[in-house]
């Protein structure tokens, strides 16, 4: 069995070992606990160098968001739910087509006759845009990853994790930081019996993961995310 903490910095394959979990006394469901992201190694071949402009906060956040999604959506781990993206795509493209259709109609038909239908097209477009904005603000919020997983040990265990991320801007001499908020639920019997529920917050400065030229230290970031997720997975049933 390979030692858990290694002296070198390279990614080290770790096999999921029950003894690690039994060492922690407070989990109520340790024999059934599904595999956490830290236990599944990332092969070096999967990694491409990521380099961003580290003066641009948006690019930094997007790079970390994308790395997190890639890390947690690996096989054996969570299956990402694309609902928020799909709703935004559907509403967005629909509004684009309505706008294009209205504009084309207004171009072909003389002005006076076109007025009623152009009014309808315009109102439809405004409504669609409003719904899109409301959805993004109220329902999507800061969420970047929604994942589900079903594991079959003794019973069918369903897990659901929702992760939101936020950039905290520079304050006095504190560097800008990336703040994650995880919400984890593990249940069985089709969601009726709650096995575990965890909420975890974590925050690190961007300078922890990005070097001076903007290269992302993916291994370090993934380890941090993996630890947060596994801590959320330890959550007690309430």
């Amino acid at each position: 069995m390979a030692p858990r903490k290694s002296a070198n910095n390279g990614p080290e394959p770790r096999t999921p070992s029950p003894s690690r979990i039994e060492g922690v006394s407070s989990t109520s469901s340790s024999p059934e606990r599904p595999v956490g992201p830290l236990s599944i190694p990332v092969s070096a071949g999967d990694r491409e160098d990521i380099k961003v402009n580290n003066s641009n906060l948006t690019e930094l956040k997007n790079a970390l968001d994308d790395a997190l999604k890639r890390y947690l959506a690996r096989p054996e781990l969570f299956k990402q739910s694309h609902q928020h993206t799909d709703v935004r795509l559907a509403l967005g493209w629909l509004s684009v087509f309505v706008a294009a259709g209205t504009a084309l109609y207004g171009y072909k038909v003389p002005f006076g006759e076109s007025k009623p239908l152009v009014w309808i097209g315009l109102i439809t477009y405004v409504v669609l845009t409003a719904v899109q904005s409301l959805y993004a603000f109220f329902i999507e919020g800061n969420v970047i990853f929604v994942g589900r997983r079903k594991t079959f040990s003794k019973r069918i265990i369903t897990e659901r994790i929702t992760i939101s991320s936020k950039t905290e801007r520079v304050k006095n001499s504190k560097p800008p930081s990336y703040s994650l908020s995880l919400h984890y639920v593990r249940s069985t019997s089709g969601g009726k019996s709650l096995l575990a529920k965890g909420k975890k917050l974590g925050s690190q400065g961007y300078n922890t993961f990005f070097d001076g030229v903007g290269t992302l230290n993916q291994d370090k970031f993934e380890r941090w995310v993996g630890e947060l997720v596994e801590e959320a997975m330890e959550g007690k049933a309430s």
Binding site: T58, H82, R88, V96, T102, A103, L122, Y125, V126
Partner: protein, 187 residues
């Protein structure tokens, strides 16, 4: 130069590409809708026009931007500056109203609340003759030919449109640049 961006696009997947194209498309869509909305509110098919000729100097010069409205109850008077389009001609003309003749309104139209029809003659301030030759056969303009009455203007701003019409490469370059920017940026 685009190697990094192409790599990241491939890595991020199809949905992401759709999102980026949507960004660009929705900027264009909102521009179109704002234009159409403006047209509906002002009741004018083209509420913002650029002066193309010098026929209204010294009031308006080539390259000025004009703002029009065309409320259906408007009765035009001598001295109003109108933009009109002769059917069959593409180019709108901006000239001043010289004469108006209000037609007697039929009783049923008056009861329906429709505004009275008018016949108008126009002339450019800087022209020697009135516009009868420009009308191509008809003697007077009717309300239906009028795109709108000038309410305000901005000097020089219209030169951008004139430049883009005279040099279409500029138009494509601008559109291409905007498209590239929208596809690569993420907000």
């Amino acid at each position: 130069m685009f190697n990094e961006e192409l790599k990241s696009l491939k890595r991020l997947g199809f949905r992401h590409v759709l999102l980026q194209v949507l960004n660009f498309a929705s900027v264009i869509a909102s521009g179109l809708m704002i234009w159409k909305g403006l047209g509906l509110i002002t009741n004018s098919e083209s509420p913002i026009v650029v002066v193309l000729s010098g026929s209204m100097e010294p009031a308006f010069y080539r390259g000025d931007l004009l703002f029009l409205t065309n409320p259906s109850s408007e009765q035009y008077r001598t001295g109003d500056i109108t933009v009109y389009k002769i059917p069959g001609q593409d180019i709108p003309i901006v000239h001043r109203v010289l004469e108006t003749h209000d037609l007697v309104q039929k009783k049923k139209d008056k009861r329906a609340g429709l505004p009275a029809q008018q016949l108008m003659l126009t002339k450019g301030d800087n022209n020697a003759v009135d516009d009868v030759d420009l009308y191509r056969g008809i003697d007077f303009l009717e309300k239906k030919h009028i795109i709108g009455k000038v309410r305000g203007f901005l000097p020089y701003v219209g030169y951008v449109t004139i430049a883009m019409n005279d040099f279409p490469q500029l138009k494509y370059a601008l559109l291409g640049g905007l498209g590239l920017l929208a596809l690569i940026q993420r907000e």
